[in-house]
Subunit: 231 residues, 2 copies
DNA sequence: CCTACCGATCGGTAGG
DNA sequence: CCTACCGATCGGTAGG
């Protein structure tokens, strides 16, 4: 009943309490401390799933991307679908965490417009920023996820979207949002999510700061498009 | 040099002048008149590609969907990718035709707002209306298309989008569009295209008229969201 | 358009 | 985590 027994549904159990390899028994001193091989698989899978799609990516591709042999990913994950679920779960957990952190930095009296700006900016970062493969995979490979994992990811997605509802409702009440909040949320998410299909980060070396500036510009333009003039 | 020679690049040639099986020589009287078997393959492939994705759909699935044996689709198409290209080409040709027809019905002095309404309404129809598998396949399976076909479809896509540019520019000049026209077009297309992921047509029998009404409602809401109050 | 088939690749496993 | 392997499925073809 420990992490080394080979046939327990390790992937699912670990997915529920991820990241912390609590109490994992080291066998020998020269064994590499590789709770992070699992993480490497998730990262590599996210990148390949985004570039090629889930069905077009073989588990051999993923293994090769992290320097493993073809069968080894199945030591860490029950199935290819479980790996997809881990990618999406990790993406949503990170995005939700960053969204909460960004909202917490706002002054308590921040306007709805300012709150929406923070939400949109954070969402662009999840879609287009560094390490932004996870959320696009979640958005565009949803149908490949199995039903059991789907509901798990959906719980996080619901919490993520729940933060938007009062902001949009307030903007609608102020007359700054021209459509009912439910439909507005769907359309705004669509407009933002679509950027994953056309946005190319500014080229050139050390483009990090310029890319960030660009995401700020995108945020400004999006707000100008969606909101009426402030009162 | 006719349609029966087995190894000519028939799919590509036919894709450029499709639909009309001009001068196809009938062999015998009891041979079924099946220029439309090719069309059936395109329709079936569009439906399956949309539901399951291109990579997750086998050519055997498609053959079975139209009552063929596994090898027979390759009598009509060089490859699975060529079939995908035909789906996208057909989708764009139809959408472009309907867009031109809808614009032609407008009075010459129609406002930019009215023009945008027609464009958005037609686009919703391509995404969500009857026989609306082609455009979503084009939008969401773009990366699976081969480079040669990609440019062919792109030519149609460019013409489709070109109709939007002056309308959005006029709205921007009137102060009704809060963002520059280029970015506005990308965001608006995103908002509309995303509806393919969440829109479920009204249920119940003979829901046709209700579904159409719903697309009208969607159009109205979209315009309210994107445009400032009319002068 | 069908029959019959091929080589390649795939997800996954046993056993260490 | 590797070695060695399996059955299934895939896109595609020859020949009629």
């Amino acid at each position: 009943m420990n992490l080394d027994s080979p046939d327990t549904p390790r992937a699912i159990a670990a997915a529920e309490t991820p990241r912390r390899a609590r109490g994992r028994p080291r066998k020998t001193a020269d064994e590499r401390d590789d709770g992070n091989r699992r993480q490497e698989l998730i990262n590599g899978a996210a990148r390949l799933f985004r570039q090629q799609g889930f069905a077009a990516t073989s588990t051999r591709d993923i293994a090769a991307a992290v320097g493993m042999r073809s069968g080894s990913p199945f030591y860490h994950f029950e199935s290819k679908e479980a790996l997809l679920g881990a990618v999406m779960l990790e993406g949503m957990q990170g995005a939700l965490l960053r969204q909460h952190a960004a909202l917490a930095l706002l002054p308590p009296d921040a306007s709805a417009r300012e709150r929406l700006r923070v939400l949109v900016r954070n969402h662009f970062d999840a879609l287009l920023g560094p390490d932004s493969d996870f959320i696009p995979v979640m958005l565009y490979e949803w149908r490949s996820l199995e039903a059991t994992q789907r509901s798990e990811v959906n719980r996080l997605k619901d919490r993520y979207e729940a933060d938007w509802v009062p902001v949009l409702a307030a903007l609608h009440a102020q007359g700054q949002l021209g459509s009912d909040p439910v439909l507005a949320r769907l359309m705004i998410f669509g407009a933002l999510n679509w950027s994953a299909q056309w946005y190319a980060p500014p080229s050139g070396r050390s483009a990090k700061s310029r890319a960030r500036a660009s995401l700020d510009d995108l945020t400004t333009s999006a707000l100008q498009l969606f909101l009426k003039e402030p009162a």
